[in-house]
């Protein structure tokens, strides 16, 4: 019988890339449920559209690149991208937004850079930014929590509105965003931004029905659900604590400082932490290993950078939320961060360096 020869080690943990990706998707389930509960079935419908698009795109591109696409599909990385796109875009955005975004994420951001492991930018976030810049109206039209809506939507309403622009009952997206009182409701972050720009105080802004107990109505729970999913990921060691801690720490520090400085103009840290896509961003997006920093120290810096950028853009920038922008900006900084945060290798303590240097010089002297 032939002997098999492999290099040591001969054992491996049983967790492969596909399993890691699937675990991340499972951990997103609580958040997805919360999103569906508060904002309708849109996210799930978009996930279906996105999943179909990414699988077709990935298979086609890999076929063009003459690579085995079956293996690539099985690693579920494209599906995870699809999920992240689906939960990032507004639930009632038209179907083609998702198709364009998903195609862009896989074809341009991922495969053109060399496929899994080689993309510089987070595909889902690059796609999100592309969509936001290209279709600002569709991308900023978030639906309001179902409980607050004058016209709650069902599953078929969601499908109908995504594919036709109108619900089964014939309501447009704008109409669906009508509050029970009869006027259109924006997201809490939007509301706050508008109020501040109109020289209102934070206290006055949060009197809007978009807020609940001084936090975003519905949004708090969605963020909370993603936080639970994130903690689960930490517990099963799919992600490390460094990046989420960095993101949360960054936004906490800055928002706390500003809140103490002037609580009339600047919202509370708690509001910032549980608004928009922050928890999803901290645990599910920024932790994308491919485009994040690879050293532990670097990851803390990477996370902190994202937190700071999110706060800066939310508070002083032109957009109500900024996870995608912040992630892309920090993606660009990764090579630099990695380079300057290399861990100290065993036996390379500074006190040793001197003796090594001396030894080195000695040996050079001898050779000369």
């Amino acid at each position: 019988m032939k002997f098999t020869l492999t290099s040591s080690p001969h054992q491996r943990v049983k967790r492969n890339t596909g399993q890691v990706m699937r675990l991340v998707m499972y951990a997103a389930v609580p958040g997805l449920i919360a999103q569906t509960w508060f904002f309708g079935w849109g996210a799930l419908v978009h996930f279906a559209i996105a999943a179909l698009t990414v699988v077709i795109t990935e298979a086609a591109l890999l076929e063009l690149r003459k690579k085995d696409f079956e293996l690539a599909i099985k690693d579920c990385s494209a599906l995870l991208t699809a999920l992240l796109i689906a939960i990032s875009i507004p639930p009632f955005a038209p179907w083609w937004i998702t198709v364009i975004g998903s195609f862009f994420a896989i074809a341009i951001v991922k495969q053109l850079y060399g496929g899994l492991g080689f993309n510089l930018f987070n595909p889902a976030m690059a796609a999100y930014v592309m969509l936001l810049v290209s279709f600002p109206v569709h991308m900023t039209t978030w639906s309001i929590p179902q409980a607050l809506s004058l016209y709650p939507t069902g599953f078929f309403d969601s499908i109908s509105i995504i594919f036709t622009g109108y619900s089964s009952d014939g309501y447009s997206i704008t109409q669906l965003r009508t509050y029970i009182d009869g006027y259109t409701l924006a997201t809490p972050l939007d509301t706050l931004k508008t109020a501040i720009s109109q020289n209102l105080t934070v206290a006055e802004a949060i009197e809007s029905p978009a807020f609940e107990y001084q936090l975003g109505a519905g949004w708090f729970w969605v963020n909370f659900a993603y936080l639970i999913g994130g903690v689960y990921l930490l517990k099963i060691k799919v992600i490390n604590w460094h990046i989420p801690a960095g993101v949360i720490g960054g936004i906490l520090l800055l928002s706390l400082a500003m809140y103490i400085f002037d609580d009339g103009k600047f919202a509370s840290p708690l509001f910032h932490l549980f608004s928009g896509g922050l928890m999803m961003g901290a645990f599910f997006i920024a932790t994308d290993p491919v485009s994040a920093s690879t050293t532990n120290k670097g990851r803390v810096i990477f996370g902190l950078g994202i937190g700071l950028w999110v706060y800066i853009i939310r508070t002083w920038g032109g957009y109500p939320d900024a996870i995608a922008f912040a992630v892309l900006v920090m993606n660009m900084a990764v090579p630099l961060i990695d380079y300057y945060t290399r861990p100290r290798t065993y036996g390379h303590k500074t006190e040793h360096k001197k003796t090594i240097a001396v030894k080195h010089i000695d040996s050079q002297d001898k050779s000369e």
């Binding site: 019988m1 032939k2 002997f3 098999t4 020869l5 492999t6 290099s7 040591s8 080690p9 001969h10 054992q11 491996r12 943990v13 967790r15 492969n16 890339t17 399993q19 890691v20 293996l71 690693d75 990385s77 496929g115 899994l116 492991g117 080689f118 490390n240 290993p289 491919v290 994040a292 690879t294 050293t295 532990n296 990695d338 290399r342 861990p343 100290r344 290798t345 065993y346 036996g347 390379h348 303590k349 006190e351 040793h352 003796t355 090594i356 030894k359």
Partner: protein, 656 residues
Amino acid sequence: MYSDYESIISRLNEGRLWDFPGGVHPPELKELSNQDPIANIEIPDKLYVTTKQHIGVQGSLSVEVGDLVLKGEPLTKSTNPFSVPVHAPTSGRVTAISPHVSAHPSGLPELTVQITADHKDKWCPLNPILDYQQKPKAKIVEAICNAGIAGMGGAGFPTHIKASPKKNIEFLIINGVECEPYITSDDRLMRDHAWQIRQGIDVLVHLLSPKIVIVAIEDNKPEAIEAMQVACQENAKYLVCSVPTKYPAGGEKQLIQILTNREVPAQGLPVDVGVLMHNVGTCFAIADAVFSGKPLVQRVVTLTGAAFRKPGNVWALIGTPISHLLDIGRYKAKLQRQRKLIMGGPMMGFDTLSDDVPVVKITNCILAPDASEVAAIGSEQPCIRCSACADACPASLLPQQLFWHSKAKELDKAQEYNLFDCIECGACAYVCPSEIPLVHYYRVAKSEIRTQQQEKDQADKARERFEARKERLAREQKAREEKHAKAAEARRQAMEEKGNGAKDKIAAALARAKAKKQQAESANAVEPAEQIASTQDTKKDKVAMAIARAKAKREAAKKTEPKETITDSPAEKAEVADSAEQIKKQKVAAAVAKAKAKREAAKKTEPKETPTDSPAEKAEVADSAEQVKKQKVAAAVAKAKAKRLAAKKAEEDKSK
């Protein structure tokens, strides 16, 4: 952060240790093989003793084919300090000395002594040292060396070198960690022979005089810990430490970090931080060598893995082919999907090429896993930069960066990321979700760097040689040129000094040549003339020659050194004028002689016609007689002059 001895001891006494970064927790599976005491097994018919089983220099053979050897007889010898001998593992006959598949990942054949056992297992005479404390340390170290002991934990470094360090030792660490999954050879050895291990430690303590001895054992071996505690309880200097189970806690550098918080400097040795480490198996062998004089001819080998029906630990003679051990362990090839025999553990062991591979001094385990126990071969996926490898790395390296650079053959960058600090423990590859054989990439990169380094060294040497040669040639060229320049200068000076003499010689030569020519010419002219005239002519010629010589000399002098003509003496000038006059006279004389000759010839041919010569003719004759007289005088004068000149010349030459 360099912890001092006191703080380390106080912390150890509190039962607290440090930790090393990273590490993994693979399934331990020690219970498969550690249930029974180490078994003695029957001697195989043939043993294959590889002649080099340690790190260092190979000894030369001291046996020949056909020799009868007794158990424990050395097969190799060497005077090199980095060499330890191998011994006949049993009594029998040397039946072959030839290359045989080796216990090395490459499996490359190495020189092997094949011994056919006579199954008497008769020992050669042994020389135990019972009173080792009374013997000089060098004697004990020599005994350890002659017993062929090389680090039995896996590295195979000659033990006697580590038993005679140049620096002071604070910590003598006895490594009984055995962190590799499956392997239980040290575990069983500690349980069954704790006392003898302790004896070995005593010898080492005598040799090394450490401040403290720490016996480190992983906490998944409570029986071994207890056995060692019992064996060491009499001596307060011996501390048995239970180390948390984590792979690779048994790595030398990691264990030092766990116990002392000190790090062996890169490119340094444990002794640089006051630590020396020996494996428990080595201690056992030292005790054997010192107290019973037995060389290292056997060791404990764990036979384990689901493909062994009867796993366990056995005393295997060095050189036992693993096929023999497979029979002992009742190996069932059917249980394996593909034949796979790992020498060593699942993390750092290597696949053997055949079951003829012999047991060597560092063989601690034969692992025959079934299909479920090993990773499926093959599907390496793209790195997703998850850094699970970095989290697992005990050396705080960045394995994925090392992987990228190793794969891209960017060897300088791989070195920049401290590739050579990788201990190849395999923790990174163990956790990689993309199933990348990371360690394999590092090994390839390391060997490429080593090869490049060798080539570079060779190229450097060649270049140095070439440059040295070029320099030497240039130096020689320069020396030659200098020599030539000096000689030329000397010649020039000499010429300036002796210039006149030389010139004179040249002038003389020229004058001689001219004179010869003239002689020839004058001879032609005189041909028809009578004997008298000719004699006269020769006289005249001599004068003419002298004159010509003088002339030529002057001319030559003029040509070669026109300046010198200025310094010509007025006497010379006068001479020349004289000689010109002489030439005239000669010419006249010649004409007269010619006429005379004619007349005489006429007289002789027609005597009757002219019986009475005319008075005019007589007058003529008288005249010519007078002329002849004058000529004679002139010739004499010229001769005298020439003589004087010659004398002068000679004088001048002499003076120079």
